[in-house]
């Protein structure tokens, strides 16, 4: 993607995210307080994050692949289950993938 196209996406995305926040401050509270709205909103967050985990772990260049990332993410999951802080989890996953690749695995 060209730098101009990336900038356009950055600014458009930033504006849309800001207007979403402002919307919450401007509309009557009861509009957004409906159980179905808050439930779907929470689940949309879950769905997008889960899909991103899947795509970042199991795909590369539009095809499904199994490589060092799968092992790294499995280690990250164990670290999260053990309540490791976010930054530790991220660094650990990078270290596992880097080590496996240095050994010629994945």
């Amino acid at each position: 993607m060209s730098p101009i196209a990336t900038w356009a996406a950055v600014l458009a995305g930033a504006l849309a995210c800001y207007l979403t926040k402002l919307l919450g401050h401007r509309v009557p509270a009861h509009w957004l307080a409906q159980p179905r709205v808050s439930r779907i909103s929470a689940l949309v967050t879950v769905a997008l994050l889960a899909a991103l985990v899947g795509v970042q772990t199991f795909t590369a260049g539009g095809v499904l692949v199994l490589d060092a990332r799968v092992v790294a993410v499995a280690v990250a999951a164990v670290a999260l289950a053990l309540r490791a802080p976010f930054i530790v989890v991220v660094v650990l996953a990078a270290a596992v993938a880097a080590a496996l690749r240095a050994l010629g695995l994945g």
């Binding site: 993607m1 196209a5 930033a14 995210c17 689940l43 899909a51 991103l52 990332r69 930054i87």
Partner: protein
């Protein structure tokens, strides 16, 4: 996570009210949340330049978009070869929960004009969690601003450090930064998986995204996975089992607890959630 937190009245009765102490407590919580959150700006900065954004574009995201999950998603879609529209749309959808936080915070803050515009910008997971974990109105407001502005400053400082570090590292794959991106999304997802419905949505979303990956343009599989959330969220009965487990409602202590009241519950645990 306590199954049934004591009602706010009981807390008030048990502990004599000291407004200054409440404010100090709010500032302490906000500061620790800001430091912890700011630190993972390091990983965002590094992953963003690894995905192909410039240092300046990375900084613009942290300053202007300023909502962590959306920023990670934006660079994730770009890094996977997705277009600008898919990246911006995914980021916006992921930021939809901030509108709910705004609706909870607006009556507590009661602002107009420029202050409201600034408050909207710093309405994120962390500021809302700290604000709603306080026991009186003033402490809530103090906690909101300290957490919101504290995260804004530290998140941007550490984003810059991460971006410069990422640039210096060179080949992202050699350092495992692609795996770090996947782990970052897992870390943001993890605290939201308590409820059965959330686990179901997560599993369904992964399947949809992976099935669509070989056939749809990059970025589209992730967006399409959001449909799973709408389908399951639409049908779930709004019974009591759905409420405590749904992370979006839990992050703000349940909107019913703060609606039209000065009291904001007292669960400190919510302030320590990440995401």
């Amino acid at each position: 996570m306590p199954a049934s937190p004591p009602p706010p009245d009981a807390l008030e009765a048990a502990q004599p009210h000291d407004p200054a102490a409440e404010r100090r407590r709010a500032i302490r919580q906000a500061t620790s949340v800001a430091i912890a959150t700011g630190l993972y700006g390091l990983s965002f900065g590094a992953l963003s330049v690894a995905a192909g954004l410039s240092v300046l574009q990375t900084q613009a995201l942290s300053l202007l978009m300023f909502t962590g999950g959306s920023q990670f998603a934006f660079v994730g879609v770009i890094g996977a070869g997705g277009g600008g529209v898919a990246a911006a749309a995914t980021a916006t959808l992921l930021g939809a929960r901030n509108a709910l936080y705004g609706a909870v915070m607006a009556p507590l803050l009661d602002l107009r004009g420029a202050r409201r515009l600034l408050a909207a910008h710093v309405t994120i997971d962390e500021s809302t969690a700290v604000a709603t974990a306080q026991r009186d109105l003033t402490a809530s407001r103090v906690g909101f601003w300290w957490a919101g502005l504290g995260v804004l400053v530290l998140w941007n400082v550490f984003t810059l450090a991460g971006a410069l570090l990422g640039n210096a590292l060179g080949d992202p794959g050699r350092w495992g930064l692609d795996a770090a991106a996947a782990a970052a999304f897992l870390g943001l997802l993890w605290p939201r998986l308590a409820a059965r419905s959330a686990q179901l949505v997560a599993a369904g979303a992964v399947v949809v995204a992976l099935v669509l990956t070989p056939v749809a343009p990059a970025g589209v599989p992730v967006l399409a996975a959001a449909v799973v959330a709408v389908v399951i969220g639409w049908r779930s009965p709004p019974g009591p089992s759905a409420v405590p487990g749904v992370p979006g409602t839990e992050d703000v202590n349940g909107s019913d607890e703060v609606d039209g009241s000065d009291e904001t519950g007292g669960r400190e645990g919510t302030a320590r959630r990440s995401g």
